[in-house]
C-alpha cells in the first residue's frame, strides 16, 4: 500500500474517531453513573446541531454563542428528561429505563422529521480550509472536532475527581451506601443526565460546520458511539476516547477495502474484542441485572 494512502487512512480514522468520541462522552457518563443505556443520546446530539444552526444562521449570532446555547438547551432538556421520564422508571430496573429512552428517542426522531426534515442545516466553516502535509489532507473543522473531543474528555476526567465527580462515582457504585454517607443520589443522577445531555449538545455544535445537521444524524452517530462505549468500557472516559479512535481507524481502512461492508467490519472488530475483554478496553462489563 502507498505510504501516503496509509497515513491518510489513519488520519481519516482519527477524524471520524473525534466525532464518535464527542458523542460517546455523554453516553458513557450516563451509562457509567446512572446506569441508564440512553438510546436518546443521539437525538440530543442532533438537537444540539440544529440549535447551533438556528442561533448562527437564523439569528446571525456568533458561533461560540451557538455552542453555549446548545450546551444550555440540552442541559435543560436533560434535566426535563430525567424528571419527567427517567426517574420514574429507574426503580423498575435497567431494561425498563432503556425502553423508555427508546420511546423518547422515537418521539424526538418523529418530531424532528416534522420540524426539520425539509431543512438541511449547515453553518459556514468556522476555520475554513484544509491542511495539506505532503499529500495528507486534514480538514480544519475536523481538527477542531478532534481538539474538542480531547478537551471534553480531559475536562470530564478532572471533573470526576472533584467532590461532585467523586459523589457521582460513589452513587454509581452503590446508591444506598452513598446516601448513608450524606450524598444526595437523586441530585447526582439529574446532574449526570444534564451534563451528559449537554455534552451531546456540544458535540452537535462542533459537528455542524463540518457535516450538515439532518434529522437522522442522531441515530447514525448513536450506533457508532454505542460501539465506542462498549469497546472502551462502561463509564471510562479514556477508554471511550481510545475506542473512538480505534473504531474510526477500523472503519476508515474497512471502507477503503471492503466498501459498504465497513459497518460489518466494525461490528466484527467489536465482537472479537469483547469476546476477550467483556468489560471493554478500560471499563467494566455492562450492568445487566442478574449478573
Amino acid at each position: 500500500m502507498d505510504l501516503s494512502l496509509f497515513l491518510q487512512l489513519i488520519v481519516n480514522g482519527l477524524m471520524s474517531g473525534g466525532i464518535y468520541a464527542l458523542i460517546a462522552a455523554g453516553f458513557t457518563l450516563i451509562l457509567g453513573v446512572i446506569q441508564v443505556f440512553n438510546f436518546s443520546q443521539g437525538q440530543f446530539y442532533m438537537l444540539g446541531a440544529y440549535c447551533t444552526f438556528g442561533i448562527v444562521t437564523s439569528l446571525g449570532l456568533p458561533y461560540p454563542l451557538g455552542i453555549l446555547a446548545a450546551l444550555a438547551a440540552m442541559f435543560l432538556l436533560g434535566i426535563l428528561f430525567h424528571f419527567v421520564i427517567v426517574q420514574w422508571t429507574l426503580p423498575h430496573g435497567f431494561f425498563h429505563t432503556m425502553l423508555v429512552t427508546v420511546a423518547f428517542s422515537t418521539m424526538v426522531g418523529q418530531a424532528s422529521f416534522l420540524t426539520f426534515a425539509a431543512d438541511q442545516g449547515l453553518v459556514e466553516p468556522v476555520i475554513p480550509g484544509t491542511l495539506n502535509i505532503r499529500g495528507i489532507t486534514l480538514n480544519n473543522g475536523k481538527l477542531l472536532v478532534i481538539g474538542g473531543a480531547i478537551v471534553v474528555m480531559v475536562v470530564l476526567y478532572y471533573f470526576m475527581k472533584t467532590k461532585i465527580g467523586t459523589a457521582m462515582l460513589a452513587a454509581a457504585e452503590n446508591k444506598d451506601v452513598a446516601q448513608l454517607q450524606g450524598i444526595n443520589a437523586k441530585r447526582i443522577f439529574w446532574v449526570t443526565m444534564a451534563v451528559g445531555s449537554g455534552l451531546c449538545g456540544v458535540a452537535g455544535s462542533l459537528i455542524v460546520p463540518v457535516l450538515s445537521a439532518t434529522n437522522n444524524m442522531g441515530m447514525n452517530a448513536f450506533i457508532r458511539s454505542m460501539l465506542v462505549v462498549l469497546i472502551g468500557g462502561t463509564g471510562s472516559m479514556s477508554g471511550a476516547l481510545l475506542a473512538a479512535f480505534m473504531v474510526g481507524i477500523v472503519e476508515s481502512f474497512a471502507f477503503q477495502y471492503v466498501g459498504q461492508l465497513s459497518l460489518v467490519a466494525i461490528f466484527a472488530f467489536a465482537a472479537v474484542l469483547l469476546f476477550f475483554r467483556p468489560g471493554g478496553l478500560l471499563g467494566k462489563p455492562l450492568p445487566i441485572p442478574g449478573q
Binding site: S16, A117, L122, T137, L211, I223, Q256, L263
Partner: protein, 445 residues
C-alpha cells in the same frame, strides 16, 4: 289532543331530520358522481419536494375551479386535489394513504407522486381501476402486469441526462468516470444507468463506490474516490446532506475533477454546497429545474400563467416541486384528447402513444418497452433543463429532450434490433417539436 299534538311534533321533527340528512348526502353523491374530478397525490410532506408538490396541486385545483372547473368534452368538472403524506418510501404510510384515497375519498387519478412505496401503490391502484402516474425504477411496474400504471417521470428512458452532461466533461478533457452513491436498490439501479450514459459519452468506467445511508463521516469515502483517481464523479441517487458532505469531503481530500451531483439536488442542497466549498463547485453540471429559465417552458402561455400565478399565490418562487408534476399534465391532456374522465378510457388512450404534454421541466413522452415485451406506452422519457455552475451560479445551457432520452437509452442498452422490429410493426414515436441533440441516425454511429 295534547298527546296527538305531541305525536305530530315528533313526526315533523323526524321527517325534518331525515330530509336534512338525506338531501345534502344525495346532492353530494350526485356531485361526486357527475361533477367532481378527484385527484390524489402521494408525497412525503417532510421533504421540500413534498411541500412544494402540495402547493402546486392546490394551485392546479384552484386555477381550474376559478374558471368554473376543468372542461372535458364540453362539460365542466370541479377539481378536488387531495395530497397525502406517505413518509419517504414508507410502506405502512403509503398503504394507509392509498386506501384512504381510493376507498374513502373516491380518488380516481393518482398523480404527481413522489417518495411513495410505489410497488404498493401500483397494486392497489390497478385493482381499483385508478390511474397511477407513478415513480420508481425497475421494470415490474411498467411491464404487462398492470394496466393503470404509467411512469411519465421515467426511470428507464433517462440515459441522455448522463450522456449529454458527460459529453460536456469529455470535451473538457475527462477520460474516466466513477459513480459514488448510496448502497440501496435505487442506488444500484441508478449506478448502472448513469454508468451506461457515461460510457456512451466515451468515459471509461471505474467500478462504483457505494456508501451506507447511515454514514456519519464522509472522509473515508472521499479518500477512496481520490485513490481511484476518476476525472468525473457522479453521485447518482445521493440526496441532500449526502451530496453536500460528499462534495465537501472531496474538496478536503484534494480531489480535482468534474462533478455531476445527481438528479436529486434542490436549491437548499445547492446553497449548502456553495456555503461549504464555494468556487470548488464551478464547472459541475446538473439538472436545471427553474422553469423561468428554461426557454421552452417560460415562453409557453399556459406555463407562463401557472408560474405567474404561483408567484402571486405564494410569493417566493421555489423550484423543488417543478420536476415532479408531469402526472397532472399527462392526465389533463389525456382528458382533453379523449373528452372523457373515465379512467378506463384514459388508460387505453395513454397506452397507445399519446401526444407528449409539456410540464414545468419540459416535454415528457410515454413510450413502449419492447425490450421487456411491453407494447403499451407506459414508460416516460422526461425532458429536463441542463445547467452548469459558473462563478457559484447555476446557468442554463440546454435542454435534455424526451427524444434524446429515448434514443440515448436504446443506444446505451444496445437495443437497436429489438426496437427496429417494434418500429416496423408500430411505427416510430412522434416526438414533440423541439430541437434535440440526438436523432435516429445516431443509433448506428
Amino acid at each position: 289532543m295534547k298527546r296527538s299534538g305531541h305525536r305530530w311534533l315528533v313526526f315533523v321533527g323526524v321527517v325534518a331530520m331525515a330530509l336534512g340528512l338525506l338531501f345534502p348526502a344525495a346532492r353530494n353523491a350526485a356531485a361526486q358522481a357527475q361533477d367532481v374530478l378527484k385527484f390524489g397525490s402521494l408525497v412525503p410532506i417532510m421533504t421540500k419536494e413534498g411541500v412544494e408538490i402540495k402547493k402546486w396541486n392546490d394551485l392546479f385545483a384552484k386555477m381550474a375551479n376559478e374558471k368554473g372547473g376543468l372542461t372535458v368534452g364540453g362539460k365542466k368538472y370541479k377539481v378536488e386535489f387531495y395530497t397525502y403524506d406517505v413518509g419517504y418510501d414508507d410502506s405502512a404510510k403509503t398503504l394507509a394513504a392509498v386506501e384512504k384515497a381510493i376507498h374513502q375519498d373516491g380518488v380516481k387519478y393518482l398523480v404527481n407522486n413522489f417518495g411513495d412505496h410505489y410497488r404498493l401503490t401500483v397494486v392497489h391502484a390497478d385493482q381499483n381501476k385508478v390511474i397511477d402516474m407513478g415513480v420508481g425504477f425497475g421494470e415490474e411496474t411498467v411491464g404487462t402486469k398492470y394496466q393503470y400504471f404509467f411512469r411519465p417521470l421515467g426511470g428507464y428512458y433517462t440515459a441522455a441526462s448522463n450522456y449529454l452532461i458527460s459529453r460536456d466533461f469529455v470535451k473538457k478533457g475527462a477520460k474516466t468516470s466513477l459513480v459514488c452513491t448510496i448502497d440501496s436498490e435505487m442506488g444500484h439501479v441508478v449506478a448502472a444507468q448513469y454508468g451506461a450514459g457515461d460510457a456512451m459519452a466515451g468515459l471509461k468506467l471505474i467500478p462504483p463506490v457505494f456508501f451506507g445511508m447511515d454514514t456519519v463521516d464522509y472522509g473515508p469515502i472521499a479518500t477512496k474516490v481520490k485513490s481511484l483517481n476518476p476525472d468525473v464523479v457522479d453521485f447518482g441517487a445521493a440526496i441532500g446532506d449526502q451530496i453536500v458532505n460528499l462534495v465537501g469531503a472531496l474538496k478536503d481530500a484534494g480531489w480535482k475533477g468534474f462533478i455531476f451531483p445527481g438528479a436529486a439536488i434542490n436549491p437548499t442542497t445547492y446553497a449548502n454546497i456553495i456555503k461549504r466549498v464555494g468556487p470548488y463547485f464551478d464547472g459541475s453540471e446538473m439538472f436545471y429545474n427553474d422553469p423561468r429559465g428554461i426557454p421552452l417552458v417560460a415562453k409557453d402561455p399556459e406555463m407562463k400563467e401557472i408560474i405567474e400565478r404561483y408567484q402571486k399565490e405564494y410569493g417566493e418562487f421555489r423550484t423543488e416541486g417543478c420536476l415532479w408534476l408531469q402526472g397532472w399534465f399527462t392526465v389533463k391532456d389525456a382528458m382533453m384528447a379523449t373528452k372523457s374522465v373515465d379512467p378506463a378510457v384514459l388508460k387505453d388512450y395513454l397506452a397507445k402513444g399519446p401526444k407528449a404534454p409539456l410540464s414545468l421541466s419540459g416535454y415528457s413522452q410515454l413510450y413502449a418497452r419492447p425490450d421487456i415485451g411491453q407494447y403499451r406506452t407506459t414508460d416516460g422519457g422526461p425532458g429536463n433543463g441542463r445547467g452548469v455552475v459558473k462563478n457559484e451560479k447555476l446557468e442554463y445551457i440546454g435542454q435534455i429532450t424526451t427524444k434524446d432520452q429515448y434514443i440515448a437509452t436504446i443506444k446505451v442498452h444496445k437495443l437497436q434490433d429489438v426496437y427496429q422490429k417494434y418500429w416496423d410493426q408500430y411505427g416510430k414515436p412522434k416526438f414533440p417539436n423541439e430541437p434535440s441533440e440526438l436523432d435516429f441516425s445516431d443509433l448506428n454511429k
